[in-house]
Structures are given as C-alpha cells and as structure tokens.
C-alpha cells in the first residue's frame, strides 16, 4: 500500500492498574490492555482489526479517538502529534460508529437532534443551515424527511445503525472508527450496512479502522488486516496475503476456526486449545505460546517483535527469525 499516512501509531501502550478491593487503592497488578502497538493507516484505505474479546482492540480504538489516554507511545494524525492541545482541533476529523445501535443513540432525542448534534457542538450554523447539511445525507442513507421527527425506538436495528452512520458522517470526517458496527445485526441487514460503508467510502474518500471479531466480515471490508492477541499486533498484511500466505500460528487458528457456510467444504474446525490467558498474568515471552502448536524454547524467554517478513507483510513470531532478510 503506498500513499500518504493518515495515522501513525508508535509504541502505543495502555496499562490499567488493578486494585485489590474496591475500597483499597493498593495496586495488585497491571493489566496491559494494549502493550506496544505500532502501525500506520493510509489515507483512503480500510484497515481491519481483528481479535478475540479482551485482546485490546476496543481500548486501542478509544485511544486513537482520544476517549482514553495512552500510558506510553505516540499517535500522529496527518503528521501532527496528537496530545491534549491538538486533540480538540482534530476531533471533527475523526468519528466513531459504535457496536450497539440500541445503546449508542439517546432515546430522548429525535433523529434530527441526534444527527445534528455534532454540528451543534462544532459549528455555528443556524437551524435551517443545519437541516440543509443533514438532509442530503439522511436521504442518501434511505430516510425520508418525516423520519427526522421520529425517535430511536421507532426504528429497526439496521435503521438505527444507519442513524449512527449519518451522525458520524455529518461533519465530513476523514477518519472513522467502526467498532463492531454489524455484529448486533442480522445477516440480511448486515449486508446492507456493509455495502453502505463501502459506498460512502468510494464517494467521500474516508479512511476506516474497521474492528470486528468476524473474519469473513473483516475480509470483505478491509484492504489490510491487523490481527491482535493479548494487547499486541501479531500479524499485519494485505487481506489477500493474510489469507493465502498466513504466517502467524494464531491467525491460522483463527481462520480455521470459522465454520464455512458451504457443506461441500469441510472445515475441520480444529479448535485451538485453551483460552486467552488472563491479561493480569500473561505468560512470559510470546503471549500466544501456551496455545501454540509450534512453540519452541525461545518463545518462553523472549517476546517476538512485529517485523516485516515479506514485503508489506508483518508478523511477530519466532518461527520467522531466520527469514529476517527485509528488516
């Protein structure tokens, strides 16, 4: 992928202190929710982020959008470092679409107020101007002008998700984080929303970070895919390379775990043994080694770093220590 970097993340970490009891402030340990993550998102692309629950993908997205402060590391947006002073200037360029279309819309606001809210906060447009701004957008998303008076409960799940999308697009952002935007929806509605994301991207040239736990959805929407495990990116590659030339054993396991919707193709569904280890007490060395079929001695002593194994294809695994040609 060549192009201009829109977002550059370097060594980002988020550690949470865990207290012993709810009255005690004595820290029992730290949870390394995100532990040293670096990647680049290029303008106009969709970067897919996949991982199981608890791997830190939501924490990462919250830091990117400034909803949560990082413990360590830097984020650059359009080449400028994001910190407390600059975050407010770039807020209008970044938006988020949330997972649950039921809890992410205020039930006491009508659709018009919900979609206009970003304009109310960030601009000084008059009532009529605001309406003028949102009308073409909501019409494009399949609503009529009468719908603007309705409240969230009057809409179906798919329609609510489209209201959330309208709200995210109304300021004309450059970057949108989609945090599991279709996982609460039925298959037929999911397809409508996925097509809509694509159509809007083609038209407005926005950049997406698309988070999902569903491999087939990620494959469908992304240009490149990052796989996270226990707070780290373990593999990052273009989507076709990731699926045809999978490097990391965890990615392999993820792909083979998906039941394929075709009875002629037999998925052996060879399950990965064990479960995600507790982030409070992660294994030494490679976080994946306890579930990995190919674990070696070195895996318990040293943490593998994310390195470019083939052109544009990064993996963090000691199996490829020999192929260190490119970096």
């Amino acid at each position: 992928m060549n192009g201009e970097a829109l977002i550059d993340v370097r060594g980002l970490k988020k550690h949470f202190a865990v207290n012993r009891g709810f009255l005690s402030h004595h820290a029992e340990g730290t949870v390394k929710a995100v532990d040293g993550v670096s990647f680049t998102i290029y303008r106009g692309e969709t970067l897919g982020l996949i991982g199981e629950s608890g791997c830190g993908k939501s924490t990462l997205s919250r830091m990117l959008i400034g909803l949560s402060e990082s413990t360590e590391g830097e984020i650059f947006f359009r080449g400028r470092k994001v910190d407390k002073r600059t975050i407010n200037e770039i807020r209008t360029s970044m938006q988020m679409v949330f997972q649950d279309p039921y809890s992410s819309l205020d039930p006491r606001m009508c659709m018009r107020r919900i979609v206009e809210e970003p304009l109310r906060i960030h601009t000084h447009l008059s009532r009529a101007e605001k309406l003028e701004r949102i009308l073409p957008l909501v019409k494009q998303l399949g609503f009529s002008e009468d719908d603007l008076k309705k409240y969230p409960h009057e809409f179906s799940g798919g329609q609510r998700q489209r209201i959330g999308i309208a709200r995210a697009f109304v300021l004309g952002p450059e970057f949108i984080i989609c945090d599991e935007p279709v996982s609460a929806l039925d298959v037929s509605i999911q397809a409508q929303i996925l097509n809509l994301f694509r159509e809007l991207q083609r038209e407005k040239g926005v950049t997406y970070l698309f988070i999902s736990h569903d491999m087939s959805v990620i494959k469908h929407v992304s240009d490149r895919i990052a796989v996270m495990y226990l707070g780290r990116i373990v593999e990052l590659a273009g989507k076709n390379e990731l699926f045809s030339d999978t490097l990391h054993p965890y990615t392999k396991a993820l792909i083979s775990s998906i039941p394929i919707p075709d009875p002629r193709i037999h998925t052996d569904m060879k399950p990965l043994e064990g479960e995600l280890p507790s982030p409070l007490n992660p294994p030494s060395g490679c976080p994946f080694r306890l579930r990995c079929g190919k674990a070696m001695d070195i895996c318990s002593s040293s943490v593998p770093q994310l390195r470019e194994i083939r052109k544009g294809h990064y993996a963090a695994c000691h199996l490829f220590d020999g192929d260190a040609g490119l970096c």
Partner: protein, 327 residues
Amino acid sequence: MERILAIRGLKTYYRAKNRIVPAVDGVDLDLEKGEMLGIVGESGCGKSTVARSVIGLIDRSYTEIAGGTAVFDGMDLLHLPPKEMNRIRGARISMIFQNPLTSLNPVYTIENQITEILSVHTDMNKEEKHRRCIELMKMVGIPAPESRLKDYPHQLSGGMQQRVLIAIALACNPDIIIADEPTTALDVTIQAQILQLIRSINREHGMSMILITHNMGIVAQMCGRIMVMYGGVCVEEGTTMEIFTSPLHPYTEGLLRAIPSIADDKEELFSIPGTVPRFTYPVSSCRFAGRCPYSERGCTESEPPLIEMENGRKVRCFRYMEKEAAL
C-alpha cells in the same frame, strides 16, 4: 429411522396490547433419532419460540399455544399437565441456552448447579451425585474438574460456563437436546471448541439434537437437515446439501448470498431489501412478499402452502408451484 419428536401445526401466539402476534404460525417438524437438525432464520422469525413451546418454557400469561401437537414418546408435550412436563424437561429433553452467564445462578457453586438436576430427576445419593458430577465435567472437557467443583460461575470463562451448561443438559442422559444459539456469545476459537464438543455428543452418544442458530456457517458444518424459518413459518426444509447447493425459496437464496465469504471476493454483497416486517394475525399474504425480488400480485393475495416433495424436501413459494405445474 426412528422418529423421536413429531411436531404438527404448532401455533404459538403472543398477545400484545391490541393485536395478536403469530410468533409461530403452523410449523411441522420431525426429529429422527440421532440426527442433528438445524433451524435457521433471523431474529424474530420464531425459531426460539418453537423450541420454548416444545419444552414448555413459554410464559402463558401472554402467550398462547393456539394449536398443534408435539408428540414425544406417545405424549403430546403441548398439552401435558405441568407436573408431567416437569418430569420430562431437563431429564428427557433438555436445553442449552445462548448466554451462559445469565443461565447459571451466580450464588451457587458449579457442583451445586450440576447436582441440582440429578436431585430433581434421579434418586442418587450424595456420593453418586458427586461422582456423576465429576464424570460430566470430564465429559464436557473441563480440565481438573475436582478443583473446579467449588467455583462460582463468575470464576469461569465464557467457554467454561457454556461447558457447565452442556454438562447440566447432559446430566440425565436426555433423548433430545435443544441448543438455542449455543455459541453466539463466544469468540470464534472457543466457538470451534464448543461446536466440536456438541458434535461429539451427537455422534458418540447418539443424542438427537436441534440446533438453533442464525449462522449459516454453523449449520453447514454441523447439521444434516435444515429448516429455514421466516415470519413464524417454515419457508424451506431439506438436507443441508440441498439447501446450500440449490435453495428454492427466494429468502434462503438471499440469506446465502448475503454472507460475506472468506473463499471469494465480491465487491458488493447481495442484500435483502427492507427489514423483517411485524406480522399481525391473521396473515393473508406470502410473508416474504414485501422483500422478495420475484414477488407478483398473487403473492400478496394469499399465503402459499408448504409443498412437500417426494424426497421430503419442502418449500413455501408460489413460484415453485408454477414450475411444478409446468412440468
């Protein structure tokens, strides 16, 4: 093959404020001994209501079984006195629910909850129950069961909680297990483990199972026969191979085309337009007519009957009737 459960014309209606919602509106279903039958459909299509009606878990204060029979071992489950139903539910027909954390009681230990069902349905003494409990936990793959007996549900991971629920369902060696979205709340790698477990229970113990899910991948890999539901009725039924390779009903076709696939690269996903409408009793048109690409005038005038072919394949569509007539 021996038929273990025969449902005929099941009608379950919900009474809403000023209308009657036909959640299940005339469903026939046969379950053979040792088979794994899949029921698929989107939320609100009535698939869970079928299961809950059979096992007597519907709230009679607003729900009414308006007709039909469900014959199991010579008894009609729909019209059984509550006392007799209690002897069957959990012992001879048991159920695995979707959300393991809300299905388990947070203030009782695992041992308590597994042995509870043995106390109700068997006359085992304390020692026997304890042994059976450990045996069950081993069977469902809980490592070191002796040390887990005194754990509370919140101390277990989602996958382990689901295994406990499966152990409870298996406790009395039931004839039928109904699994209602058993893996929807789980991550893919854990989902693969649980599906593997369910498959081995079906094969090794010859247990008949009904698997309810919205995931076409899961039915493709797990079930021999599938019933597709829409708007409270069966729209198509056949072997998994038939349904996936030559779907007859436009809804099934749409569902299959709407799934993003890992195997091929489609620019645009096919999507079924609109959303699942709300039905009010009585329904006098094809329930899918409003969203169907092939719908004609006749489709809104009366409801097509469920046509059964010689090989047991069923479909509910006027288009198919016409084709048949032309032949």
